[in-house]
């Protein structure tokens, strides 16, 4: 007899997938922010987020509440992001793109090394931000932690979208990314807009890190490396220049990876990432600009 398909399990797995996708989405949005303005993928984004998470851990350790540390860390990360752009990205603004990519790889080693230097490499943990009690919706038990994670990441992305859509500064930074020369002519300080993008990206990364850490029993300085892989893959799937695409892409990826890992025995946990990447490649071969990306048209 065929086994009855367990809809409860499916719903739970989808929510778990959305929760991990939500955490990746905030980091993916950070990647998109920098890609839109600088034209490169920031390989150090995950390590910057990890560093922010360790700052948050120190604040909590010194007696702050989780949410107090959360807000303060975002502010610190924003300032650090701006500072990093001013210090190491601005000098290579006009250099070949691969040069900028290598600078971000250098930042990757530097930030990781700094974090292991400052905070010794023992594992540590952050308190749970949400109650671990499950709630039951329509007969299916969901964890509040998962739902809260999805909520916070979506709220962060929504705030960012509101900033870009409804403030003058947001408009200026979108203009600077789209057409630097014309923006400069109408008085936008394009270079500072890049720094703003790095600051916002660092802040989004901090959110991602602080949502990743409490879900784990313990974490160390390699916390964000897998997250960066998933965020990169999801952002490319959604179309690397679209905020909405980054969110939808990573959420889809989260659900996909979780369902494949659960229902396809041969794949198991080891091959989840390669299989997910293969699926993405399949999508990209049909839609080379990603799900929501614009096809770059060039005049030759």
């Amino acid at each position: 007899m065929l086994l009855a398909f367990d809809w409860t399990q499916l719903a739970q797995q989808v929510v778990i997938g959305l929760a991990s996708g939500g955490v990746w989405a905030t980091l993916a949005v950070a990647l998109v922010l920098i890609y839109r303005s600088t034209g490169v993928v920031n390989f150090a984004q995950g390590e910057m987020a990890m560093f922010s998470t360790f700052i948050a851990w120190s604040l909590v350790h010194h007696g702050l509440s989780y949410w107090g540390a959360f807000a303060l860390t975002i502010a610190i990360s924003f300032a650090a992001g701006v500072a990093i752009e001013r210090a190491v990205i601005r000098p290579v603004e006009r250099a070949p793109q691969l040069t900028v990519v290598i600078v971000t790889l250098g930042l990757f080693f530097l930030v990781n090394g700094a974090a292991r230097w400052i905070w010794t490499p023992e594992t540590r943990s952050l308190p749970n931000a949400f109650s671990t009690r499950p709630i039951t919706v329509a007969g299916v038990a969901f964890s509040i932690q998962d739902l809260g994670t999805i909520g916070v990441s979506l709220a962060a992305v929504a705030l960012l979208w509101l900033f870009f859509r409804f403030t003058k500064l947001g408009l200026a930074s979108r203009a600077a990314a789209l057409n630097p020369e014309a923006s400069r002519l109408v008085g936008v300080r394009v270079s500072w807009m890049l720094a703003l993008g790095w600051g916002l990206a660092a802040a989004m990364g901090a959110v991602s890190g602080m949502l990743t850490a409490p879900a784990l029993a313990s974490f160390d300085q390699n916390l964000m490396q897998p997250v960066l892989l998933y965020a990169f893959a999801g952002a490319v799937l959604g179309g690397i220049d679209s905020l909405l695409g980054a969110v939808v892409g990573t959420m889809l990826l989260g659900v996909l990876i979780n369902l494949i890992g659960t229902y396809v025995n041969w794949v198991g946990s080891e091959l989840r990432l390669p299989v997910a990447l293969a699926v993405i490649l399949g999508v990209l071969l049909v839609r080379p600009a990603g799900l929501f990306g614009r096809v770059a048209e060039r005049r030759v």
Partner: protein, 337 residues
């Protein structure tokens, strides 16, 4: 003003100097350091290969560590399962990785820039997991040990190697083997890029549309560049396996792909002589960084800072610097009033 190309005499002198340096270098360094030099040679070969692809053809690859894994495992599997002599597996390792490189080149026809980066990145991430999955051939996460499973096939097991009646230590042999192949690979790359084929590659890099309208077959050129670059990576991976006498999935992580890319850009995209400096940079910088302080994280911190500093000071890599340094010299030599 007429600009002459360097005469054949100058090239011969240069070739003689390089060859002499290659032959006598082990006399000036310890046995241990000639092993380090041999390791740098592996990076050199892989970096020259990636430069053909990224520097000359404009196709980025984050997956060269995966191609090196194909080469390394081809060698290890032939030695362990088929009992081949290790050095004779090198050409086959190159061919195997070249074929895989060709296959990666196929999706590259539709993808460019970032998407190609993702595709090759996916390959680099997938290879270690696949190596663990198919453990019958690859030994799973344990890997394959050349020395334990097939000691007779490992050259230099007894500590000395005799080549052409000339006896030398194993580390010196590895140095001569690696850099000998490295020099051949370098000359092959130089011959390739200076002629018609090199112009085709550069045309594709500079403008695909213009290249296509000039009658260049884009698909053929790109897949060929990937295959060629794969051959270099495969040979490098094979030499890595021979040097370390063991392969396992951890020898070929994503970090290896990153190091090769860093070496290529530091060496200078589109410059072949710069690649030597790129290889030394990648091989020796971690060692140098540990001299500052052995505290946790400090070597990585110094390593990252050095990469950033080099890029800020030399955005076009060592190759760009060499060109600038050589300009006053060459213009005086070749310009006639």
């Amino acid at each position: 003003m007429r600009r002459r190309t360097p005469g054949i005499g100058l090239w011969l002198v240069l070739a003689a100097v390089v060859l002499a340096a290659y032959v006598v270098a082990p006399r000036f360094v310890s046995d241990f350091h000639s092993r380090n030099l041999a390791e740098a040679g592996v990076f050199f070969i892989a970096i020259v290969g990636l430069n053909l692809l990224t520097g000359y053809t404009g196709q980025i690859s984050l997956g060269h560590g995966g191609l090196m894994a194909i080469g390394g495992y081809t060698t290890a599997a032939l030695v362990v399962h088929e009992h081949w002599r290790d050095v004779w597996t090198i050409p086959l390792a190159g061919v195997a990785a070249g074929l895989v490189g060709f296959l990666i080149g196929l999706p590259a026809l539709r993808l460019s820039g970032l998407y190609l980066a993702l595709a090759t990145f996916a390959f680099a991430v997938a290879v270690p997991s696949l190596l663990k999955k198919f453990s019958g051939l690859t030994g799973g996460s344990q890997g394959l040990r050349l020395l334990e499973s097939a000691p007779l096939q490992v050259t230099g097991l007894s500590g000395t190697v005799t080549v052409f009646g000339h006896s030398m230590t194993q580390n010196h042999f590895l140095y001569y083997l690696t850099w000998g192949i490295g020099l051949l690979a370098f000359v092959a790359a130089w011959l390739l890029v200076r002629g018609r084929f090199g112009r085709t590659l550069r045309a594709v890099r500079d403008s695909e549309v213009a290249a296509a309208s000039a009658g260049i077959d884009l698909a053929r050129t790109k897949t060929l560049a990937f295959a060629l670059s794969g051959v270099y990576a495969g040979v490098a991976g094979s030499l890595l396996a021979i040097q370390s006498e063991i392969v396992n999935p951890l020898s070929f992580t994503f970090l290896l792909s990153i190091l090769i890319l860093v070496g290529t850009v530091v060496g200078g995209l589109g410059s072949l002589p710069g690649m030597v400096l790129g290889a030394f940079f990648v091989e020796y910088l971690p060692d140098i960084s540990t001299h500052f302080s052995s505290a946790q994280g400090v070597p990585d911190f110094v390593y990252g800072a050095a990469i950033i500093l080099v890029m800020l000071l030399l955005p076009t890599g060592a190759g760009g610097l060499l060109r600038r340094l050589a300009r006053p010299l060459t213009s005086r030599l070749y310009l006639r009033p």
